[in-house]
Amino acid sequence: MDLLQTKGIEKQFLGVKALKGVDFAVKAGEIHALMGENGAGKSTLIKIITGVYPASAGSVYFNGKECKFRSPLDAEHAGISTVYQEVNLLPDLSVAENICIGREPRTKLGFIDKKERKVQARKALARLDIDINVGENLSSYSIAIQQLVAIARALDVDCKLLILDEPTSSLDENEVKELFKVMKKLREEGMAIIFITHFLDQVYEVSDRITILRDGQLVGSYEAKDLPRIEMVAKMIGKTPDEINQMQAGIVKNTKFGDTVYEAKGIGRVGTISPVDVSIREGEQLGLAGLLGSGRSEIAQIIFGVDPHDSGTMTMCGKSVNFNSPQKAVKAKIALIAEDRKVTGIIPDLTIRENIMLALQASKGIWKTMTLKQQEEMAEKYIKLLRIKTPSGEQLIKHLSGGNQQKVLIARWLATNPKLLILDEPTRGIDVGAKAEIEALTQQLCGEGMAVIFISSELEEVVRDCDRVIVLRDRKKVGEVAGSDISLKNVMKLIAG
């Protein structure tokens, strides 16, 4: 019998249909992967199951009974525990409180028992083999630990169904392994787990069954062992396996490089990054590889003038420059698409057109305005060029999927006609199809003579796309590989040291 079942779930947001009649079922004692591209409706479905949103139509059955949860708390009482995408915790409260809040152990008088709370928190963390000071503020720990704290919280209640929405995106390899061990243990105890991830390897490592959504519709549910990987991807993006192979083969590296565009000698900043040389030529794609916190983004921030450098010199097109603000970098025709697009990139309540216009307008100053018509033409051009999926340029950007938001950000900077484009994790949290498109786009830009610095934590991408790779470890450059020496093995070796 199915533990959880949804029938004909529909959801509309402001006229946009996010879910179009989804039937979905999970059995007790299985790990069920919910797959789909960004914007396919996975998170929306989860939020409807757990009572964050009401469904526009359809019904949810849990334990054989129809349920209409009005809040996550309702769902939790029924036995559904959820770890939502992105760390959704309370940074300024202690770890113990984050695990126990809303269900703190109480003394006989009904007041919170602080000692017992710590004990309970430690116990919950011990289940994941974590031993940290639970009295410290959550924000004093790394994102990875915070993610595990969120999972510990979800497991701290008596639940029959555990939902993990992208739990591994901020974990390193060992932490992922630990998490999978726990998931398998829970499965043996008879718990059902819904697992959402972008990492295809991970799906096959733990899942028993896979359900695929596309454009708000159910594609199908399959036994994991009967569904080859390439077919899963094909079903997710709605293309045949052959078409995907073609897409990936379609990435042709540019080999004609021009003059040096940007050169930095010994730039560094105490406590942020040790002095490093960076140079890049026209048409070249330079990769920065390394683990999280190795100094990749820090280099980008220094080049773009976000952080001042306290050593070294830089030249742009042969002229000595010193950027102490992003404005100056923009004037010199550098563009940076920063790591976290939600925080530093998109302005959710502006339209696509307005979002694209921002950087160009900023570089022109506020007096030289463009007419609405010019703006519309420009938005139209980039929507076509980058294949942004939207009914029109007047759509608010917050209604787009992650991949399409990223494309709008790229369009914003392309509009300023940069000579050097820095992409910091452009493919993070976007789906396979959009990734391939963005990779192809950077190659195309290089072909047109643009210099591109590409930062990604997915080494395959760096290896596949870059002409030269600088490898970083512990805020230091530890090596550089170029041309045919670029291989996953070589880069990994340098990273590992």
Binding site: P72, Y84, L93, G102
Partner: protein, 328 residues
């Protein structure tokens, strides 16, 4: 290996306490009688009503909200009590009615804020005008409270005599009791912790299953009660009601909360800190009164600078703790 680390979250409140002692020390060094227990006690007597109002404001600010109706509610309740007594009602009935109106008004504001997702600033701004106006409907002029048996009882019989001419007045006891209750509530009850959770990250709090709506309405209800109680204390303190009183008092309350180490964006701070926020404000006032030469409006200038200093400090602390978690 355990290194002793002073937790970052105690820095602002420690700074507040430090400022309090520094100002106190300046007073003792500069003036002969400043250090006398009487001056210290008067600090509480003169600021009991403000202190009670600040407790409500502190809780509201901890949820990430704001309450601008504080001063108006104080004025309204004090004039209501005075008018009712003047027209022959029992003082206890008047006080009970005043408190009930405060509670109901706070609850209404909380309900509007939650159910219609309205900004607290605007809702309580509307509330501020509304209830200020109501005060003038009750009476356009100040009304004194004379020879009321209940008030006399509070004044004479409920005062604890400490000897040497010093008295612990009932309004001070009320303040201390409410303060202790609020500290305990905020630290040791689920509802209290929910207030912090909402102020820290409302979306996360919702997703963590915390009853956000209920907690918010409750917080504004408590704030309404605190303001009304402050009004009662104010009437007892002045033995009068006046619809013109306490204009802009909510700003003093907000200043006291900030100086007390609470982050205006919510989620960080202690109700305990608001005590020192109020005491610092009171001390500066006392200091200037003692001096006698300086214009008393200098209080405002110093308070302004202090608030600014505390905002800078909190900004710095937020940055430090952010860069710390980044570097891990």
């Amino acid at each position: 290996m355990k290194k002793f680390k002073f937790p970052m979250r105690y820095v602002p409140i420690s700074a507040t306490i430090l400022v309090f002692f520094i100002v106190y020390l300046i007073g003792i060094i500069s003036f002969d009688n400043f250090g006398s227990p009487k001056v210290f006690l008067d600090l509480f007597v003169d600021n009991a009503y403000l202190g009670i109002a600040v407790i409500g404001t502190a809780l509201v600010i901890l949820t990430g909200g704001i309450d601008l109706s504080v001063g108006s509610i104080i004025a309204f309740t004090s004039i209501l009590i005075a008018k009712m007594i003047a027209t022959g009602s029992n003082a206890l009935v008047a006080i009970a009615l005043a408190l009930a109106i405060g509670i109901a008004f706070g609850m209404l504001q909380g309900w509007l804020i939650h159910c219609f997702s309205l900004p607290p600033f605007l809702v309580t701004l509307a509330g501020m005008f509304f209830i200020r106006g109501c005060g003038f409907i009750v009476s356009e002029e100040s009304i004194g409270i004379k020879n009321d048996p209940v008030f006399n009882f509070i004044q004479n019989d409920l005062t604890i005599k400490l000897g040497k001419g010093m008295n612990l007045r009932f309004i001070v006891i009320v303040y201390i009791v409410v303060l202790l209750a609020a500290i305990f509530f905020s630290q040791r009850t689920r509802s209290g912790r929910s207030i912090y959770a909402i102020g820290d990250n409302e979306l996360a709090a919702t997703l963590m299953g915390i009853p956000v709506g209920r907690t918010k309405i409750m917080t504004y209800t408590i704030a309404g009660f605190c303001s009304a109680l402050a009004g009662v204390v104010y009437a007892v303190y002045l033995k009068a009601g006046n619809p013109l009183n306490c204009v802009g008092l909510e700003m003093d309350a907000i200043a006291a909360v900030v100086i007390g180490g609470t982050l205006l964006t919510g989620g960080v701070g202690y109700v305990f800190g608001s005590l020192f926020g109020v005491l610092v404000l009171g001390l500066i006032q006392t200091l200037i009164v003692f001096d006698g030469r300086i214009n008393s409006w200098w209080t405002r200038i110093i308070v302004g600078l202090l608030v600014l200093a505390f905002i800078f400090m909190q900004n710095l602390i937020t940055k430090i703790s952010k860069s710390k978690s980044k570097s891990q």
